[in-house]
């Protein structure tokens, strides 16, 4: 009997627990259209996205945005492609810069331009350089979202202590060489002058900043690329610059990948490294990690050549075309929400990614940040002063990931003493082979 009673109680408790849940879920589901949002942000970015979804959901009663973390960028692309057309696919998703061409050709998204035209949405408030990366033939494919650009960081306090003149805000290679040499000399070799990560993204930026196209058809903006070049006057000059610093003993090589990034940041924060080039998205981590004053400049350019400006990196937001109209509408409403001046300012302050709305710079949250750390506005200034052209709008080509691997390998070889011309030529040949095979496999002409 006792046993029976216990069972009764158990059943009753469970029922009481479950009933209100079910009721809640039903009333929620009946009134709101769910909009599943796939993203790849971790840390502060993920927290801020959750916050955005919460605020958006509270701001209206029609849709319920559900953010879901999907692992890293590369994993997410595969998931997006392979779930498309099934009930498991997202309504809106974040996808990295280099997969743009692949997703575009896979035809899985409703172009942003469709919504922009229909709503007469003012796209001009969004940064033109960022927009250009994610558009083709004047059509906005996806909405630029978390956006960074590479910048040059230096330890301003260290320079002051050693009595070294800071580099100009738009430095040439030789400006940086001078500072790096002085850091090494005046610290008696205790502090290394400079590092540039072995990283294909940075390699591309040397070309963009020198106004060189990596792929033919203007980096794929006027047609599908059939030929690529990595061995150019611009890349040779950049590699010679690095080589010069290596030979002088002012350069330290941290290798490639995330370990290289964490190592160079650890060294920089510990005051053992003077200068490094890296994504502007690291800015909040750097500001939080040291009491030293942080110095920032634009991406360095070749001597005697004006900077053309660097391309953006990061990811954009896509709306899947396999969802019903009302779901797509909900996704679009959410995209508009995160692109407002206020949301973008909040995004930059929280993560270090650049606010893309022109009016964000005046928002109090960013004004406060700039007042505290004047150098924090340099990345935004760099972005705002670049005139978009086909050389600095990213390479619109499938196989950019392979390009980055090959360029990275070439950089590693050069840093370790291989002939610059030879290393670049091998990478170029390998990439041309990859491009040919990709085009053949996808039946591109």
């Amino acid at each position: 009997m006792v046993f029976k009673h216990e069972r009764c109680w158990f059943a009753l408790t469970m029922l009481l627990l479950v009933l209100p849940l079910g009721a809640c879920a039903r009333s929620e589901a009946a009134s709101r259209t769910p909009v599943v949002f796939w993203h790849e942000m971790t840390g502060p970015g993920q927290e801020q996205l959750k916050q955005f979804a919460k605020e958006f959901n509270a701001s209206q009663t029609k849709y319920r945005v559900e953010p879901q973390f999907e692992g890293n960028y590369n994993e997410a692309v595969q998931k997006i492609l392979h779930t498309h057309g099934t009930s498991a696919s997202p309504a809106v998703f974040q996808s990295m810069d280099v997969s743009t061409s692949q997703l575009y050709h896979a035809k899985i998204g409703t172009p942003m331009q469709h919504f922009i035209d229909r709503d007469h949405y003012d796209i001009n408030q969004t940064s033109p350089v960022a927009r250009a990366f994610y558009s083709q033939n004047g059509n906005q494919i996806s909405m630029p979202f978390n956006t960074s650009q590479p910048v040059l960081y230096y330890n301003a306090s260290l320079l002051k202590r050693l009595g070294i003149k800071a580099p100009p805000v738009d430095p040439s290679y030789s400006d940086i060489t001078r500072v790096a040499k002085a850091i090494s000399a005046k610290s008696h070799g205790k502090v290394k002058g400079l590092t540039v990560e072995e990283y294909g993204w940075l390699f591309e930026q040397f070309m963009a900043n020198g106004n060189e196209h990596l792929a033919n058809h203007e980096d794929g903006r006027t047609g599908i690329p059939t030929k690529v070049q990595l061995n150019t006057p611009g890349t040779q000059a950049a590699m010679k610059w690095v080589r010069e610093n290596i030979q002088a003993g002012d350069f330290i090589d941290y290798g490639a990948g995330s370990q290289a990034e964490s190592n160079e940041i650890a060294a920089f924060l510990a005051g053992k490294l003077g200068i490094f080039i890296q994504s502007s998205a690291y800015i909040s981590q750097l500001l939080a990690g040291t009491k030293d004053e942080l110095g920032i400049t634009y991406y360095p350019h070749q001597d005697g050549k004006p900077r053309n400006g660097v391309a953006v990196g990061g990811a954009s937001l896509w709306i899947s075309n396999d969802k019903p109209k009302d779901v797509q509408q909900g996704a679009w409403e959410f995209v508009k929400y995160v692109m407002t001046a206020k949301a973008q300012a909040q995004w930059q302050a929280a993560t270090g990614y650049l606010a893309l709305n022109k009016d964000s710079q005046k928002q109090p949250i960013l004004q406060k940040l700039y007042k505290q750390h004047p150098s924090a506005q340099i990345p935004s200034q760099q972005l705002a002063t670049i005139k978009a052209n086909t050389a600095n709008s990213g390479v619109f080509m499938e196989g950019v990931i392979q390009e980055r691997n090959l360029a990275q390998t070439a950089m590693a070889q050069i840093y370790n003493g291989k002939d610059i011309n030879k290393a670049l030529a091998i990478a170029e040949k390998g990439l041309n082979r990859t491009v040919a095979s990709t085009n053949q496999a996808n039946h591109y002409k």
Partner: protein, 316 residues
């Protein structure tokens, strides 16, 4: 069945006899096959779906170029294989993998053996050391990677600081192609040691003490005891550890991904990592399938060789 046979037939006739045998065996076979399907069916089904079908599909994809959705699009025959074996980067990966596998297996077993023998000594506080020796078993790959990344950091790492104090040349462990593989080997061996130690130590503890007492009375020294008694007796365990370590080393992925991402200059781009890169970063499933097939064949050949050559020397 048997009842239906004509009663008046001559059962002495050999033809009839063999027919009878056939009928009974086929009846038994039918009954058995029911049980066979019942018992093997579920696992066969699971294996087909999750093992055999993917294997066949991999073999199939290795003969194709794949499009941006990962579908087979252009049949290229064996040219994926031919191209791979002509690619110097792939060949250097192959070399690096063999070097890595051999170094990891040998070092793990030798060091594991040393620790196991050391832990057998009856000393005060030996239990503490036994725990320490096997502790890396409980450490996950990511924790180990972070720990060693800090140690190898060229600016603030332990090794850098030691070499600075001793005025030794600075080694850039993870960025120098000559040292990166060594760094990963050190880390892997360290990771593997816990498991190897525990297994070998367990095997040594199991040996009957009477043998050693007899050897001691006969005046056999410790070294000879080890090589003539201990080693032959634990050879099955040693063989097991060797096979497991070797196959594990071939499949090494986590440490590479966390420490070097295959770099610098492909020095640590081992075969498994290359498969991952080609499939999940480059989206080139055809090539990745080709690489998987090659890797499978290599592991199969080596395991077979181990069983053929070493298997004979093992005393069970």
């Amino acid at each position: 069945m048997l009842e239906s046979l004509p009663q008046n037939s001559n059962l002495q006739d050999p033809d009839v006899q063999s027919a009878l045998v056939q009928i009974t065996t086929s009846a038994r076979w039918r009954k058995d096959s029911l049980y066979v399907t019942l018992f093997l069916g579920p696992s066969l089904l699971l294996l087909s779906v999750f093992v055999f079908w993917p294997m066949i599909k991999t073999l199939y994809l290795s003969l194709f170029l794949t499009d941006n959705l990962g579908h087979a699009s252009v049949f290229v025959g064996l040219s994926n294989y031919v191209n791979l074996f002509k690619d110097p980067a792939y060949l250097s990966s192959l070399g690096a993998t063999l070097l890595y596998v051999i170094a990891v297996s040998v070092l793990t077993i030798v060091l594991g053996m040393l620790l196991a023998v050391a832990a057998q000594q009856h000393l005060q506080g030996i239990r503490f050391f036994r725990t320490i020796f096997s502790s890396t078993m409980g450490i996950s790959v990511s924790v180990a990677a972070i720990f060693w990344l800090f140690a190898f950091n060229p600016s603030v790492g332990v090794f850098a600081q030691i070499s600075q104090v001793l005025h030794l040349p600075e080694i850039n462990w993870l960025a120098d192609p000559h040292f990166a593989l060594l760094a990963v080997i050190i880390t892997t061996v360290w990771m593997n040691l816990g498991f190897t130690f525990l297994i070998l130590f367990g095997a040594l503890q199991q040996l009957p003490s009477s043998l050693f007492e007899a050897a001691k009375i006969a005046g056999v020294n410790k070294t000879t005891q080890f090589f003539k008694i201990s080693l032959p007796l634990i050879s099955p365990t040693l063989f097991f550890v060797l096979v497991v370590t070797l196959i594990d080393a071939f499949k090494s992925f986590g440490l590479i991904d966390l420490m070097t991402v295959g770099g610098p200059n492909n020095a640590t781009n081992l075969l498994v990592y290359r498969v991952y890169q080609d499939a999940f970063l480059n989206g080139n499933y055809g090539l990745a399938s080709t690489e998987s097939v090659i890797l499978t064949v290599i592991i199969a050949i080596i395991t077979l060789l181990q069983f053929k050559l070493l298997g004979k020397r093992v005393n069970y």
